[in-house]
Amino acid sequence: MSKDIVILFGTESGNAEFAAEDMAAAIESDAEVTVVDMTDFDVSEFSADVFYVLISSTHGEGEVPSGARPFIEALNSNAPDLSGVEFAVFGLGDSTYEHYSRGSEIIEEKLRSLGATRIGLYGRHDASDGSLPNDAAVEWVKDLFATL
């Protein structure tokens, strides 16, 4: 990967952050990787020179986790032009809930509506069996960068 990579996580109970750190460790020998909480990310800094990996859970009734709320609100109110920005998405959820994995989809749709392009397979993890997303997320991110 020639671009620098920013892994943006949106979390409520910490699973997405934990998986983001494992993803970073798995790919940092091949690229410059930083892990950033969506809450702390300034949406005016989106850049076409960086590849973004988004990982977010779902909470409430199919909503984004509280850690992604300021991010979505900033995207809504600032509406930055994201043309040229490339990203990939890994969604966390639990299929015993009615709106499975919806939180990450809300973010994905928002970024595309602002002109960004999603690359690669949409990754998902289902927590209904009590597993953590880490292993699935690491496999997914390795496959993603192997094909880019």
Partner: protein
Amino acid sequence: MSQLQPTICIVGSGPSGCYLAQFLIKQWPEAQISIVDRLDHPYGLALYGVAPDHHGTRAVTKQFDRLWSNPNVQFVPNVEVGVDVSLAELQANFDIVVLATGLHQDRKLSIEGDGLPGVVGAGRVTRLINGHPNETADDFSIGQNLLIVGQGNVAIDIVRLTLTSPDKLHGIGVPANIIEAIHSTPIRRISIVGRSTCSQAKFDVAMVRELANLTNVSFSASGLASVSKGDASDPKEAAIHDLVANSLAGAQRNVDFYFGWQPTAIAGSAEVSRVTFSNISRPEETLIFDTDTVITAIGFEESDDASIRRNQLKDSNSNIDVGLLSAGLYCVGWFRRGPKGTIPANRVDAKMVSDSITQDFQNRDDLGFKKGRQAIKQLHSASKS
């Protein structure tokens, strides 16, 4: 700053203690953190409160498991602070001590008859279901006519779990004697009664929707503000309407929701047999339940015999809002803010307290000279010998 090597003792290994350790070790990778718990196993209510069929919620403990692979973080089991070691001893041996001991006692109804046999707290029931090592099943059984007081998520957990088949309970690890105590007399009716209106009730919609998966159960509700789902503007009312409307005729078990009632007296001779409620908006109106088992699910409070009490530890410098009790002594989680909020709320809380600790200590250069974890071993073995 990251070179600071304070010795830190976190008392209590529930979600708030574990999240705090995660944040502190990230801020101070060279810190030496000991997390002590009175139990043999960590994670507090994430293990002994959260329903065992909610695997996704339980998964957070796997996040915490990773803590123990960091050589600078250590779990110290079977040490009850205030009994096996004193808080003063910990403070003498650690630069920073944080209390994350939670609040465990079921809040009492505080009405006539609330101590009768057959009246049991939801905290105790969920500890039994989760195999808590210090909880005994003596005198615990559920008859055929169960009354639940309170309508929060814990009350809904109790409805779901007590109506779950023995095989399934076994499959999720519920101890055999507890399955027997729940199922030896099959439950025919559960009445679940709360003070609030339905829209103000504390349960989450997803929790009520999940009840639709139970088999052989018919639902009813009284005290709703709307007549049918069509005119329910509130999502909780809509969810209850759905449950009732989709109930199968001929089910042998009934779950009845009553909104807007508060209990006034519990009667019975050897054990509970009747509970009286009065209507919140029309107090002269009463509702009487004949019942053999009452489970109270109205929240938690400080134990009568708590070995550590927050209000006794405050001094003139305390600022509970940021977790500060006194110099070097902090609090986090339910112990800090009271028995409210889910596991994620403790993560937010732990982040805030972690920030306040690191700010307080950022300019100190005298840290890391207290003995830390070796001291616990010595103090502990001294108290046991």
